[in-house]
C-alpha cells in the first residue's frame, strides 16, 4: 500500500477522470437494528474479481448514536499544520463538539500514514440559511480550496471510511468490524486509469447521502454543468460525485419523493411513456423535460444510502442494465441486501448461516427502495408508477 496523495489528486492527473470497474454492496436493517461490519466486509471482499487493490471504502449509518445531533466530519489530512488550520477555521463558523482521530490499525509495512480524523460539528445557527445549506457550502469550500484537507463524509450519525488498498485491507485499517450500523454501503475498485488517491475511492458522500457506483457516467459533462448551476463544485474528477450531488439536490433541496427522483435519473423510454395513461404521461414527460440534465447516461449500477427524509437504501442500474445489480431479502424480511453479484449473498449464507427469503434481479433502470419503518417499498420490478397513487393537481399549459 502506498499512502501518499490522499487529500488531492496529483497535478498531472487532474484533467483525467477516473474510469473504473467495481464491486458494490450494501444492506439495510428495516428495524434500524445495528449490526457490526463483519457482514458487509464478507459481502464485499468475496467480489475480489472486481478489485485490484487500488481503492475500497465503506459507509455506515447509525454508527455515532452518542453524537447523532451533530454533523460527523470524516477527514483525510496531509499533516499536523493543515489539521490545526482546519480546526481554527471550523471554530470560526461553529462549535466543535468533539475532535479526535479515527481509530486505525496501521499495517506494519506502512511508514507514512494519512491523518484520519473526525470532528463532530455544529454550525452557528442562522435565520437566513439552514444548517444543511451552511454545511454544504462549507464542505464545497474546504474540498475546493482548503489545502491539505479533504472531507470524505459529513452526515449526521454516519461516516465514510475509505482509502487506497484492497477491500480487506481498508476494512482492517479502519477496523470496520468494530462499528455498528443499521445500514452499510461498500465498494471495491478496479480503476483503469488512476493514481492512488484516497479521496477518489468510494463511497462518495454529501451530508446524509452516500453513493457507491460501478460504471461510468457518459453524461458526466451534462450532469456536472447542471449541478454547477446550483452551486455544487465537482472537484473530485470522478463521475460518482455527480450522482451523490444529484441525490442531494433532488431529494434534500428540492424535496422530490425518492421514487420520482430515481425516475428522473433513469427515466422510462418515450416509447414506454407514450403507452401509459394520460396523467402518467404528463408526469413523466414533464419529469424528463425538467430534469433532462439530471438524467444519468452510460453504464452504471449504484447503491445509495440516505438518512433524509428517512433512512433509505436505494439500488438503481442504467436503463440498458450494462452493470449488474442483485437484490435479496432476509427470511425475517427485516433486511434488504444489494450487491454486484449473488456471490455476496452466498458468502453470507455460508459464513453467517444467513437465510434469504428471496434473491432477485431488478429490471433495468428501475429502482429498489427500502426504507426504515416502511419496508421494501419497491423491489425494482415494477412499472414506473406501479404501487404509487399519483395525483396530478397542477394544470398543464398548451
Amino acid at each position: 500500500m502506498k499512502w501518499n496523495n490522499y487529500t488531492s489528486l496529483v497535478e498531472k492527473f487532474r484533467n483525467q477522470r477516473v474510469f473504473d470497474g467495481c464491486g458494490i454492496s450494501g444492506y439495510i436493517n428495516l428495524d434500524k437494528k445495528r449490526d457490526n461490519g463483519e457482514q458487509i466486509i464478507d459481502m464485499l471482499s468475496i467480489l475480489s474479481e472486481r478489485e485490484n487493490g487500488l481503492g475500497a471504502g465503506f459507509a455506515g449509518y447509525g454508527i455515532y448514536p452518542k453524537y447523532k445531533e451533530y454533523y460527523a466530519l470524516h477527514l483525510l489530512i496531509d499533516d499536523e499544520d493543515s489539521k490545526e488550520n482546519l480546526i481554527r477555521y471550523l471554530g470560526d463558523f461553529g462549535n466543535i463538539i468533539q475532535s479526535e482521530p479515527i481509530p486505525t490499525k496501521i499495517p506494519p509495512n506502512v511508514n507514512n500514514p494519512p491523518i484520519t480524523w473526525r470532528i463532530f460539528y455544529e454550525p452557528k445557527h442562522k435565520e437566513s440559511i439552514s444548517d444543511d445549506a451552511q454545511m454544504v457550502r462549507l464542505i464545497m469550500k474546504l474540498n475546493d480550496t482548503f489545502d491539505g484537507v479533504f472531507v470524505i463524509s459529513s452526515g449526521k450519525n454516519m461516516g465514510v471510511f475509505k482509502g487506497n488498498g484492497w477491500s480487506h485491507e481498508i476494512a482492517d485499517f479502519y477496523q470496520i468490524k468494530d462499528y455498528k450500523a443499521y445500514m452499510w454501503l461498500a465498494h471495491s475498485r478496479f480503476p483503469t486509469n488512476t493514481p492512488g488517491w484516497w479521496g477518489g475511492a468510494h463511497p462518495f458522500n454529501l451530508l446524509g447521502t452516500s453513493v457507491v457506483h460501478n460504471g461510468e457516467i457518459t453524461s458526466y459533462g451534462t450532469n456536472m454543468r447542471y449541478l454547477e448551476s446550483f452551486g455544487y463544485k465537482c472537484t473530485l474528477f470522478t463521475d460518482t460525485e455527480v450522482i451523490a450531488y444529484l441525490f442531494d439536490l433532488l431529494i434534500r433541496k428540492q424535496k422530490i419523493p425518492i421514487p420520482i427522483t430515481t425516475i428522473a435519473l433513469a427515466p422510462p423510454l418515450f416509447t414506454t411513456i407514450e403507452n401509459m395513461e394520460q396523467k402518467y404521461q404528463i408526469a413523466l414527460k414533464n419529469i424528463r423535460a425538467t430534469y433532462r440534465s439530471a438524467m444519468l447516461n452510460g453504464p452504471f449500477s449504484i447503491v445509495v444510502g440516505l438518512n433524509y427524509p428517512k433512512p433509505t437504501l436505494i439500488g438503481l442500474s442504467d436503463r440498458k442494465k450494462l452493470r449488474p445489480l442483485v437484490a435479496a431479502i432476509s427470511n425475517d424480511e427485516n433486511s434488504v441486501f444489494l450487491s454486484s453479484e449473488e456471490a455476496s449473498f452466498k458468502r453470507l449464507k455460508l459464513c453467517e448461516d444467513y437465510n434469504f427469503k428471496r434473491i432477485w434481479h431488478p429490471k433495468s433502470g428501475t429502482a429498489i427502495i427500502a426504507q426504515v419503518g416502511k419496508g421494501l417499498l419497491r423491489d425494482g420490478r415494477e412499472s414506473p408508477f406501479e404501487k404509487i397513487n399519483l395525483k396530478v393537481e397542477g394544470t398543464i399549459g398548451g
Binding site: L269, A283, R292, N297, N389, L390
Partner: protein
C-alpha cells in the same frame, strides 16, 4: 465612350459546340440572361453568369460547363480579386453592396476544429440499429423544479403540484430556420412546412406573415414577429406552435429584414399586408423596444394574446455581448432563446454587415450556455442555435456545446436544389427557390423538394444516433452541454478555453 471599369467575370461558360443540339433549352432556363441563341449557335455573356448551374443541369447533351475565368488579374495577396471587385463595384454605382447567403469569407470554422469522443472498454457503445436511442426534445420553458407533495405516512401517495408551461415535443433536435415567404417562394415554403410536419420538427415562418394555405402546418411552425410587423394579425399569432420575436439575425446583426420590391408580387403583398412592388425594409430596431423592459412587455403581450398556450421566444444575432443579453431575455420571460451566428444566412443583406459583423455561433453557444448556468437559468429555457449548421456533425457539436436545438436553412435550400450562387436578393433564382416569378417558382416541384428535405433530416437524425451510440449515450439530452465529450484540435487554445473544451490528448 469612356473606358469600361467592369471587373472581369468570375466564370466562363463553355459550350461544347460539337455536341450542342441547339435546342435552346439553356437559354430558356437561364434567368440571368447569360445565354442566348444568335441564330446560329448558343452564345454566352460571361459577365452575367452566376454559376447557378441551371443550364448545366438542363442541357440534354451535357454540352455546358461553367469554368472559373482563367483570364486572371495580376496577383496580389492583399488586394485580392474579391477586394478589387468590391472597389470597382462601389466606384461604379456609389451604393451599399447587397449580398445574400451567409458570410463567404474563408474564416476558419470552429466546428471543424472539434473532435468527438467515443467509448472503449469501460463503457460499452450502443448500437442504434439494435437498441433505442432517443432524440426527442421538449421545446419551451421548464420549471426550475417540480413540486410534489408526499404523504409522510404513506410514501406511495404522491401529488404533483406544478403548473407546467406549454412545451412542444419535437422528434429531432432540429429546427428549419426562418425563411420568409418573399425571400423564398411559395413552393419552397410549402415543401419546408410539409417536411417539418412529416418529420415532426419545427420550421420558422420568417417575418413575411403566414399565407392561409400554410395554416394547416401551423402546429409545426414558429411564427416570427420582426420590427416591420409584416403580416402580423391574430391568425398569424394563433396558428403557430410558438412565436419568436426577432431582434437580430446572424447575417446582419443590427439590421432589419430587407425584401427588395422586385420580389413583392401580389401573393407577397397580400401575405405581408404591404403594397405590391414596394421594398419591405424592416426598421433596424423594434421601435417599441429600446431596452430590455420593453422586450419583456412585448413577450407578455404575446403571451396574453395567445392565452399562454404556446412558447414565446426571442432571436438575437450572436454579438460580442450575447451572454448578458441572453440572461436579460430569459429574465424577461422568454421561453426559448435563439442565437444566430455570424455565418447565418440571409436573402438580402448589406455585404459590409454580412461579412464583418457578429461572432461565430460556437463561441456564442458556449458563452450563453455558461452565463445562463451561472445565473441558474439555463435549464428553464430552450436554447436554439443556428448560423451555419451545415451538416449533422455541426448539429452534434452545437448540442454538445450547449444548444437544445440546432437551426439551419442553407442545407434545406441546398437539398431543394440551391447551388449557393448567392444571388437571392435579385429574385431571379433559376431553381425556383429564392424568387417570386411565376415561371421560375413552377420549376420547384413541391413533392420532390419535400421528400429531399425529409431524407436530409432523416439522415441527420440517424447520424446523431450513430454518434450518441458511439459515445454510449442513449438520449440526446445527455449530450446537451456535455463538453466533456468534445476535444479541440485547432491552432488557438484560447478558443478551447472559451468553449470550455479540453485540447485533444488532455
Amino acid at each position: 465612350m469612356s473606358l469600361s471599369h467592369n471587373f472581369p467575370s468570375y466564370f466562363h461558360i463553355k459550350v461544347d459546340r460539337e455536341i450542342c443540339r441547339k435546342c435552346k433549352r439553356c437559354t430558356n432556363h437561364c434567368s440571368y440572361n447569360a445565354l442566348s441563341f444568335n441564330g446560329e449557335q448558343i452564345v454566352s455573356d460571361d459577365s452575367k453568369c452566376v454559376s447557378c448551374q441551371r443550364c448545366v443541369a438542363m442541357c440534354p447533351s451535357g454540352a455546358i460547363r461553367i469554368e472559373k475565368n482563367d483570364s486572371y488579374l495580376p496577383p496580389h495577396g492583399n488586394y485580392t480579386q474579391r477586394i478589387r471587385n468590391i472597389i470597382w463595384s462601389q466606384s461604379g454605382n456609389g451604393g451599399v453592396l447587397l449580398s445574400a447567403t451567409g458570410n463567404d469569407r474563408p474564416i476558419r470554422s470552429i466546428f471543424d476544429d472539434l473532435l468527438l469522443d467515443a467509448c472503449q472498454v469501460t463503457n460499452p457503445s450502443i448500437d442504434p440499429l439494435r437498441e433505442t436511442i432517443e432524440t426527442k426534445v421538449f421545446f419551451g420553458r421548464k420549471p426550475k423544479k417540480i413540486v410534489f407533495s408526499e404523504d409522510l405516512e404513506d410514501p406511495n401517495n404522491i401529488s404533483l403540484k406544478t403548473e407546467f408551461m406549454p412545451n412542444f415535443e419535437i422528434d429531432s433536435p432540429i429546427m428549419i430556420g426562418h425563411m420568409s415567404l418573399g425571400s423564398i417562394s411559395y413552393n419552397a415554403c410549402m415543401a419546408i412546412y410539409q417536411a417539418a410536419k412529416k418529420l415532426n420538427i419545427l420550421a420558422g415562418s420568417g417575418e413575411g406573415g403566414l399565407h392561409q394555405d400554410f395554416y394547416e402546418y401551423g402546429p409545426n411552425i414558429i411564427t416570427e414577429i420582426a420590427s416591420g410587423r409584416f403580416g402580423v394579425d391574430i391568425n398569424y399569432l394563433q396558428n403557430a406552435a410558438g412565436i419568436e420575436i426577432k431582434i437580430g439575425q446572424g447575417a446582419k446583426p443590427g439590421h432589419g429584414g430587407h425584401l427588395p420590391g422586385e420580389k413583392v408580387n401580389s401573393l407577397i403583398s397580400q401575405t405581408r399586408m404591404i403594397p405590391k412592388g414596394s421594398d419591405a425594409l424592416s426598421p433596424y430596431p423594434h421601435h417599441d423596444i429600446y431596452s430590455i423592459e420593453d422586450l419583456a412587455q412585448l413577450i407578455s403581450a404575446l403571451k396574453e394574446a395567445t392565452r399562454y398556450t404556446v412558447p414565446i421566444g426571442v432571436k438575437i444575432a450572436a454579438v460580442h455581448n450575447s451572454a448578458p443579453i441572453a440572461v436579460g431575455i430569459v429574465r424577461g420571460g422568454a421561453d426559448f432563446l435563439t442565437i444566430d451566428g455570424f455565418r447565418g444566412g440571409t436573402g438580402a443583406a448589406p455585404r459590409i454587415i454580412r461579412d464583418h459583423a457578429g461572432i461565430p455561433i460556437e463561441l456564442a453557444i458556449a458563452a450563453v450556455d455558461s452565463r445562463l448556468r451561472e445565473e441558474n437559468l439555463r435549464d428553464e429555457v430552450t436554447l436554439v442555435a443556428g448560423g451555419s449548421i451545415r451538416y449533422s456533425a455541426d448539429l452534434i457539436k452545437a448540442i454538445a456545446l450547449g444548444a437544445d436545438v440546432g437551426m439551419c436553412c442553407m442545407p434545406v435550400l441546398i437539398a431543394m436544389g440551391c447551388r449557393v450562387c448567392q444571388q437571392c436578393f435579385r429574385g431571379l433564382c433559376s431553381w425556383g427557390i429564392a424568387t417570386q416569378q411565376e415561371y421560375l417558382v413552377k420549376r420547384l416541384d413541391i413533392d420532390v423538394a419535400r421528400n429531399r428535405i425529409i431524407n436530409l433530416f432523416h439522415s441527420w437524425n440517424e447520424e446523431l444516433k450513430e454518434v450518441l451510440g458511439a459515445m454510449g449515450i442513449d438520449s440526446v439530452e445527455s449530450l446537451r452541454s456535455n463538453r466533456d465529450r468534445l476535444r479541440y484540435i485547432g491552432p488557438n487554445p484560447k478558443i478551447a478555453d472559451i468553449l470550455g473544451v479540453k485540447h485533444a490528448g488532455e
